[in-house]
């Protein structure tokens, strides 16, 4: 690492943090946005991811690609943000404070085609109710287009376990969507 602490080395390829941010910022932001379903929270997570990457680069092992490593940090940071948000909501609930207005707001992903917006809104609402690991696996596959093997690397899990997570996620989504449609 150089003196200005902005050079990041991947073996013999020198990258600056600026280059890495330019290359991966959309990937990081998009993943965080799909998990958190909140623009400002996703922007905060994207910033945290690159700061963590910069601070933890010594822990980066060459047995996974930089992209996988960045996905892993993104997933962990986004899940942490989700947990913090859950805790914050619990405190609101216990304190009997004013109800959270954001809870009722629907999430519209900016990349969805216009004619599919309504359906995608239902889908994201259903994704929100999935358990963390299922949500992560589903977003990585369906939104980020990662293969089961890649997801297994990102989640530090076995491919069979990821397949099981994806199957359970799909089943849960079908149940939740049935309820949403019936309403």
């Amino acid at each position: 690492m150089s003196d200005d602490r902005t050079n990041i080395l991947e073996k013999d390829k020198p990258y600056t943090l600026e280059e890495i941010v330019a290359e991966y910022k959309d990937m990081v932001y998009n993943t965080a946005l799909s998990i958190l379903q909140h623009v400002e929270a996703a922007e905060d997570v994207a910033q945290d991811v690159f700061i963590k990457l910069y601070e933890k680069l010594d822990e980066f092992r060459e047995d996974s690609s930089l992209k996988t490593y960045i996905y892993r940090i993104t997933a962990n940071t986004a899940i942490d943000a989700l947990r913090k948000e859950k805790r914050r909501k619990k405190v609101y609930w216990w304190s009997g404070d004013a109800e959270d207005k954001e809870e009722t707001a629907h999430f519209d992903h900016p990349g969805i085609l216009l004619d599919k917006k309504e359906d995608a809104r239902h889908l994201f609402e259903a994704i929100k109710s999935l358990p963390e690991q299922q949500k992560l696996a589903y977003v990585l596959q369906k939104i980020e287009g990662q293969t089961v093997a890649e997801i297994a690397m990102i989640m530090n899990n076995k491919p069979t376990a990821v397949e099981s997570l994806l199957a359970r996620a799909k089943n849960n989504l079908k149940k939740t969507l049935t309820d949403i449609i019936e309403k």
Binding site: V21, Y29, E43, Q47, G111, I112, T178
Partner: protein
């Protein structure tokens, strides 16, 4: 069922959301503004980790329980010793009284 499949496939062909074009500038500003952690902050961070906190609480409880158990054992031991001592003193006294009594009888 087809309707659900339609919804599940609604993300097909979606575009990636674009991150803030000034993200790098913000990151640099964040890094410049965040002071590096002092050694005390690092210690506090370590101590407030859930695993460390839970282990510390369990160790504290284990030490307390072991002290209480040890104290009870010591007390029980002391009581037993006292009882043994007092019973032997009582029997010595009885023997002495008996021998004195028999000595008195023989002198009479």
């Amino acid at each position: 069922m087809n309707r659900i499949e339609e919804i599940l496939n609604s993300t097909d062909g979606m575009q990636r959301a674009e991150a803030n074009p000034y993200l790098y500038t913000r990151i640099k500003a964040n890094m410049a503004n965040s002071p590096s952690a002092t050694s005390w902050e690092l210690v506090a961070r370590f101590l407030t980790r859930p695993a460390v906190a839970i282990i510390t609480v369990f160790m504290f409880l284990a030490v307390n329980v072991s002290v209480i158990v040890k104290e009870r054992e010591d007390k029980a031991m002391a009581v037993q010793q006292f009882l043994q001592q007092s019973s032997s003193t009582e029997s010595d006294f009885a023997i002495q009284v008996q021998s004195n009594f028999s000595a008195d009888l023989s002198s009479e």
